[in-house]
């Protein structure tokens, strides 16, 4: 990391110091506990990535993300505050709520793409409801027809495998688009991911119907 960006980190870390509600000492926006009196703090106004110790990038190691999430919950979950004052209980609940929201958003490739676009000042993918990519529409129609016709587990498995691979490739492409700052491209790919995710869900349901009956 170069000198300039480490300065940035440092400044961000210390901007907006405010008094701790408990001991009145200085705490930073992202602090979970007061350094002085160790009282739990209200969740800071920070983005989901910051909350889970990540940079604002699309490529996320989900296993690592989950470990961080568990570790933070171990400290912040209301179960840790059962013997504390009502104020601390309420703050712990707020922290756990923010943490759940951040984790649920970032672990999901589609929600993460949508969220990152918004963090970067772009429209999210739910902004417009119509898909006007003819190639995507065509692909969607054909795949859905194939799924309707699949009447064996093997046939559905074939479609599922393809959909999974498509999802994986699409996620990779989204990561690349974000890395190259091609945000329009990322948005277009995210719309495709939305469709692929839905398709994968439908293949699962279709398979479940075939397997479980």
């Amino acid at each position: 990391m170069d000198a300039q960006s480490s300065n940035m980190t440092l400044r961000n870390d210390h901007s907006g110091l405010h008094p701790c509600w408990s001991c009145k000492g200085p705490v930073a926006e992202a602090d979970l506990f007061c350094e002085t009196c160790h009282a739990v703090q209200p969740p800071g106004h920070i983005d989901h990535f910051t909350r889970l110790g990540l940079h604002q990038v699309y490529d996320v190691d989900v296993d690592g993300l989950e470990r961080t999430y568990f570790e933070l919950q171990r400290h912040l979950h209301p179960d840790r505050f059962a013997k504390k004052t009502p104020k601390e209980k309420s703050l712990s609940q707020q922290q756990a709520v923010s943490l759940n929201e951040a984790f649920e958003t970032l672990k999901d490739p589609l929600l993460r793409a949508d969220y990152l676009l918004q963090v970067l000042g772009e429209d999210g993918i739910s902004h417009d409801h119509t898909v006007n990519d003819p190639a995507l529409l065509m692909e969607a129609m054909e795949t859905r027809e194939a799924l309707m016709e699949a009447d064996s587990v093997d046939a559905v498995n074939g479609l599922t495998t393809k959909a999974r691979r498509d999802v994986r490739d699409c996620v990779k492409s989204i990561a690349a688009a974000f890395a190259e700052q091609k945000l329009n491209e990322a948005r277009k790919l995210a719309l495709r991911l939305k469709y692929l995710t839905k398709l994968l869900e439908e293949t699962r349901q279709h398979k479940a119907r075939l397997v479980l009956k």
Partner: protein
């Protein structure tokens, strides 16, 4: 990549200092439909509290003596045959239920219910009681059992509820505990408690299914267990399906035989209570035997009935298949196939029914596990969680909300705000708008369930947001926030966003008890409500005062040099005074002294902030600098 600098976790003070008078133990309670169990865990070793005969199960049966006192457990169960009009069982099925719900439960019920609004009331021993009061009597008996055996005061408990219990039933359970003089540390879902007991005992790792068929409720939860984390992936169930339904099915079968013999008969509620005891015996007989003979007698007519394995399986099949269907739905919700489930844990006495074991085994393609007594495993898990909450633990229980929560919109359609299987605690907001010019109030109706239309879901609460400033239709922005806490309980709030008008809203529970009713019950109950309230407020003031003192001590320890000797001495004097008032009994004095301490430390606080900001600007915080560079 994980950035170290952002993980500034400090010890949240997880080892609470024992205080004088803190000698109470927290217990775990399984408040079941048929039986209840109380357990305690000390140093990670759970123990079920048993009577002198070694029985851990307390039948959830209450008999009311002529003087109004309650008899709970085995004695009450015996009285059921002799004086059925004074005895009530399976009251859990009525928790948080309205009259219409109870009437819709199939079969002949052993309850005489009273017509009325809100939560149903039962006629028993010439009185009208709510299910909350009756449950409180059971909880009181469990509390006494625990106190007798432990020789400690028991005032705190973790109480388990079916995962599929809705908000009204959860609230009712918490209210019952309050009436019994128990502070509920946490409501834990029964399958989750079972998984905790099982996981810690057997060191299970991987995805497990907990199949919990109790007396009146069915739950299936899929959990991922690993390294001290118990994460519920999905849960589903039926809060009105349980072992009781097997009894009812057998009873109907016997009654049909009687009809063939004697024609149509009229049965009283008391007849039904006694006949259900026989039906229950028949069911239990079928666990070990393939055939049994039973006798029913009422209206001075005796009839003999034979129950064979094939009859019983036929009667049980529709109920068992319903549970299997729910299992499939939960697997689908969790995106898990049966062969990915590493083990199936059986919980609840009704899992002894052979057909249940057979069908569960077939679905999950493996023999289900019952290593820990299925009747006791839930209470054991609850006791472990009670210890974790009071003494501390490294384990983490992450649960989900079992049913979707939503709000009524135009045309009687439910708009989902929080979908089912969302990790809790959770808070979500949704914005709505007015549909008439100058509309100044908006009715808000919160619902629970998966269906699309309002009348197909369960009504939780209705309230009206008033004081919306006059605007054209569609201009107001009403933000409705749903919050579900770690107990799975919902709070709803509403505010108008454009003007910032936020309204304090009172939620009127559709099937709960109002605050007034609750207050009245507390007054009427044996608990001296007023004294209790005073004691609670005093305890809270002491806890708060200790926290404030600790905070000031920490600040003095780190930033004490910002004060001169006089200033420091002055603060010390106030700290000592506060310490003295904590030792006293006057909570107003404690509060006053806390306020004084706050006033007299304001200058100190200001200097500490100034110092913090100065350090931030000059960057002398070496530790942070190093961390920042490392990342």
């Amino acid at each position: 990549m994980i950035e170290n600098v952002l993980l500034q976790i400090h010890e949240p003070g997880e080892t609470p200092m024992p205080h004088a008078g803190d000698e109470a133990l927290a217990v775990g309670i399984d408040l079941g439909t048929t039986n209840s169990v109380v357990a305690v865990s000390k140093e990670g070793t759970p123990e079920v509290l048993r009577d002198e005969n070694g029985h851990g199960l307390v039948p959830s049966v209450v008999a009311y003596a002529p003087d109004g006192s309650a008899i709970v457990g085995n004695l009450a169960k015996q009285l059921l045959l002799m004086r059925p009009e004074t005895v009530i069982s399976s009251v859990k099925r009525l928790m948080g239920r309205g009259l219409a719900d109870v009437k819709s439960i199939s079969g002949t019920l052993p309850f005489e219910v009273v017509e009325g609004e809100g939560m149903v009331r039962v006629k028993i021993a010439g009185k009208e009681l709510t299910p909350v009061e009756i449950s409180a009597d059971i909880l009181r008996a469990l509390k006494e059992r625990a106190e007798d055996q432990l020789k400690y005061k028991v005032e705190q408990a973790v109480i388990t509820v079916p995962a599929y219990f809705d908000d009204a039933a959860r609230t009712a359970t918490k209210d019952a505990a309050r009436l019994a003089g128990l502070d509920v540390l946490r409501l834990v879902n029964e399958p989750t408690a079972a998984a905790l007991a099982y996981g810690l005992d057997q060191q299970a790792e991987g995805v497990y299914a907990v199949y919990d068929l109790g007396g009146g409720t069915f739950d299936l939860s899929l959990l991922r267990m690993e390294k001290g984390v118990f994460q519920v992936k999905a849960t589903g169930g039926d809060a009105a399906l349980g072992g009781d339904d097997f009894d009812h099915a057998i009873l109907e079968y016997f009654l049909e035989e009687r009809r063939e013999k004697f024609g149509e008969e009229k049965l009283t509620t008391d007849d039904v209570k006694i006949a259900l005891v026989t039906a229950r015996m028949a069911k239990e007989c079928m666990t070990e035997n393939d055939e049994g003979d039973f006798v029913l007698e009422f209206n001075e007519k005796m009839s003999k009935h034979t129950l064979k394995r094939e009859n019983f399986d036929e009667l049980a099949a529709p109920l068992v298949e319903r549970t299997i269907e729910i299992c499939r739905n939960v697997l689908e919700d969790a995106d898990t196939f049966p062969d990915e489930v590493k083990g199936v844990v059986l919980v609840g006495g009704s899992t002894r029914v052979p057909l249940v074991r057979k069908r569960v085994g077939e679905l999950f393609e493996q023999d289900p596990l019952a290593d820990i007594d299925p009747d006791e495993v839930v209470a054991v898990g609850a006791s472990l969680q009670a210890e974790a909450l009071t003494v501390g633990s490294d384990n983490l229980l992450l649960d989900v909300t079992p049913l979707s929560l939503g709000i009524e919109t135009m045309g009687g359609i439910v708009e989902k705000v929080i979908p089912r299987n969302t990790p809790i605690p959770v808070a979500k907001a949704q914005e709505f708008t007015t549909y008439q010019d100058g509309q100044s109030a908006m009715a808000i109706h919160a619902l629970q369930g998966e269906r699309e239309m309002v009348d197909q879901n369960r009504s939780l609460a209705r309230f009206i947001l008033k004081g919306i400033p006059p605007m054209t239709a569609g201009a107001a922005r009403i933000r409705v926030t749903f919050s579900v806490d770690a107990d799975g309980l919902l709070t709803v709030g509403a505010e108008e966003v454009t003007t910032g008008v936020s309204q304090e809203v009172a939620v009127k529970p559709s099937y709960g008890l109002s605050d007034e009713e609750m207050a009245e019950m507390l007054r009427d109950s044996m608990v001296h409500a007023r004294d209790d309230m005073e004691i609670r407020l005093l305890t809270e003031a002491r806890v708060e005062a200790r926290r404030v003192m600790e905070a000031v001590y920490s600040a003095l320890h780190i930033d004490g040099k910002l004060l001169n000797e006089d200033e420091r001495a002055h603060i010390n004097v106030i700290l000592n005074k506060l310490d003295e008032t904590i030792a006293g009994e006057d909570r107003h004095a404690i509060t006053a002294m806390m306020e004084e301490l706050d006033r007299e430390t304001q200058v100190f606080a200001q200097r500490r902030m100034d110092k913090g900001i100065e350090e931030a600007l000059t960057g002398i915080n070496v530790e942070k600098l190093e961390n920042a560079i490392e990342s």
